[in-house]
Subunit: 433 residues, 2 copies
């Protein structure tokens, strides 16, 4: 069994105008589908970051993948070694997918996922069972809340095209949460912060705790919008709201800043775990994060951490160090959701519900045959099918590809969207507060 074809499909996926400290989501999120076919006619599929940069990086390893035995992944990993890839891999200034230094881990991860999908089909086993066997049968996800503008983004600019509507106040966030919890059955909540002034985000968290009670863990993630001072102030203010299985994610920029926030919170008697997927994005960051106290929970990602096995190993490393493990999400479709679900189920130490943007995408832009993945009680069950358990609807892939080719932009730029729609002088400033 050798890989005889390698085809990438760029995709543009309608996305509502979600807000974060990076800015505002564009009308279309960019993704890439990868299809590998073997000499014996088995197909393996994966979804990866999109846009021309990640696409070119993925195409660059195509010559190494063509002709390879899909079991020989370590060899591919070695072949893709890029000495120029060293350097800052934080997501402080690059959104995930846009950091050129992640090219190796991102591209390898896409090929690994597609190879595991086709190996699973060849041996008639789900991907999570190829990797030592599942630790659980379903992957729990959390409700991932966003402040947002009205209008459906790529779905149409009319407010009627957006099921969630405008959400730029604490009270409207409670309504958003109810809707999302009712639709998906999530048991944990993550609020994307760093958008409204701190007092409003504190208020939002307090309303959420009051509404959903202490059995629903809460997290807040402002993507480094706050100074150390502000982070400590908010960490103290949200001491109760973040207790009981929650965490405080990337309040401030950089490993040093995070470590300082930790020291000052601990000195004040608050041991809310700090989580990170901005300062800590790679295997080589974990030990320093642990040593300095910069992070007590690390957010994995089977896309940019270098694949499903890489997440299994990073979660074991975290577990050995006494660190918690969770999972980061970018905008994605059902194929990435399945990669994330198999990763979670194959990683015993993944004790927090994973992030997902999936509720922000819709049936009309799904690329999976048979339509969107169904959640059961906030979790994605592993299908009783081989590989990743899903297949591509090629009509949809081509439709989203046509749309990609028609776009004027080919990379994610949330700042540009802010300037276009909100404030012509908007810039990302860290810290903003």
């Amino acid at each position: 069994m050798r890989i005889k074809s390698f085809t990438t499909y760029p995709l543009a996926v309608a996305d509502p105008p979600l807000r974060s400290s990076y800015g505002r989501h564009a009308p279309y999120a960019l993704r890439t589908a990868l299809v590998l076919e073997t000499t014996d006619g088995i197909t393996g599929i994966a979804e990866a970051h999109g846009g021309d940069g990640p696409l070119a990086a993925l195409e660059a390893i195509k010559p190494m993948v063509l002709g390879m035995d899909p079991f020989q992944l370590t060899r591919l990993w070695d072949q893709t070694a890029d000495p120029s890839g060293a350097g800052d891999r934080s997501q402080t200034w690059f959104v995930p997918g846009e950091n050129p230094r992640d090219a190796r881990t991102r591209s390898y991860a896409a090929v690994e996922a597609a190879c595991l999908d086709l190996i699973g089909k060849a041996v008639n086993r789900p991907v999570c069972d190829l990797l030592g066997g599942r630790a659980r049968d379903a992957a729990p996800f959390s409700a991932y809340l966003f402040y947002k503008h009205a209008g459906g983004g790529g779905l149409g600019d009319d407010a009627r095209d957006d099921e969630y509507g405008e959400c730029l106040t604490p009270a409207s966030m409670v309504a958003q949460t109810h809707r999302m919890m009712d639709l998906y059955g999530f048991k944990e909540i993550k609020l994307k912060g760093g958008v409204l002034p701190p007092e409003d985000e504190i208020e939002t968290m307090r309303l959420l705790r009051a509404e959903f009670g202490p059995t629903v863990p809460l997290r807040i993630d402002p993507n480094c919008a706050w100074s150390v001072e502000t982070s400590v102030m908010i960490g103290l203010a949200l001491k109760d709201e973040l207790s009981g299985g929650g965490y405080f994610e990337d309040p401030t920029a950089g490993m040093d800043g995070m470590a300082e926030v930790r020291r000052r919170l601990l000195a004040a008697g608050v041991d809310t775990p700090l989580a990170s997927n901005v300062a800590v994005t790679a295997l080589e960051h974990i030990v320093p994060a642990w040593e300095t106290g910069a992070s007590q929970v690390i957010l994995s990602d089977p896309h940019y951490w270098g694949g499903i096995r890489a997440v299994q190993r990073m979660s074991m490393l975290c577990d050995s160090l006494g660190l918690g493990v969770s999972m980061h999400s970018n905008n994605h479709l059902g194929l990435s959701l399945m990669i994330m679900a198999h990763t979670c189920c194959a990683s015993p130490a993944m004790q927090f519900a994973c992030d997902t943007h999936y509720p922000w995408q819709t049936e009309q832009d799904e690329i999976i045959e048979g339509g969107r993945v169904r959640f059961v009680d906030g979790a994605v069950p592993i299908p009783d099918k081989p590989g990743l358990g899903v297949s591509l609807d090629m009509d949809q892939v081509h439709r989203l590809g046509e749309r990609y080719r028609s776009l004027t932009y080919r990379k994610r730029d949330d700042e540009a969207e802010m300037r276009l729609h909100v404030d012509p002088n908007w810039k990302r400033i860290l810290p903003r507060w």
Copy 2:
């Protein structure tokens, strides 16, 4: 595919009278072969520690293995959790295989290896390629030298039955090394020390360096026979001999003692890495060993560390911490050798040649069909066959089983052998020097 039969075969294997700080090897080393068969008639095999203790522990998980899907290993691992298994897992006082607290990792490892063998046969791939793909095509081993008495042990008490003869002096160790290097082509050397007075072992190491030169890395492992004082003295004396890819293994007992040796050697300007498989025998020891400096190289073992995937993960953990990785050996036959070779090839971070007792066993007691595994330039090539790449000679298995049943002892007791043959009052004393 489900497991429908689980059969253990105790084995007694002729072994020469090798010496270590634990005492003297008995005439027969004890091993266990495990054979699993699936509902579709595929057989998976493994070799494990022997003797009635390890055998009973392995038999104890048989009810969990019967009926299981061989891919669902994580579930088996969870099922074998034993809260009473916590506690001292060092090998300071127990030889490997005899520590009852290793029962879970040992027994699980045997089942994992047999499951990977049968999965490999089912999907037509070597075991190392089921685990992400091999990092190398052959596993390098080192020449594992022992001071020893004459006479072949279980091969016959006559000196003519022992190809290596008595070796209780520095000069005779040079002859032993030449013979073993010539026969197997090893490129690295490990001396089992803690037997002769320190000045004689220092002399042995100096002769070996003089004879084989600085391109052949040397290690010495006295299994904790020395005090901290003596360890530091020897570490200083062997500064040059242990440089260039060598290491100083378990000179003294316990993590604290090892850390003290490290501190004192560093203070004297000697940074020879300390290695351990006595103080450090489990995943939970690695971080403390790294923090305290007790060990810079950890010796894995796919038998008592909990299997092949466990070694992959421990080696990744070591690599992340900047620790080196090597591999420990007990007396074993060709089936364990293949488990060790696949483990090495599936673990990119395994940068030292692995230990093996294989040269001390002979063709007449091999249980592998077709006879003993061949080394090429000191390494075991991964066979171009599925699974572990070897099969059992059941006539030999039954012959070694008959011998096992005829023995008066059913556990390894090197002290008893010393009292019987060398000194009726011999006791293991730590430190001896």
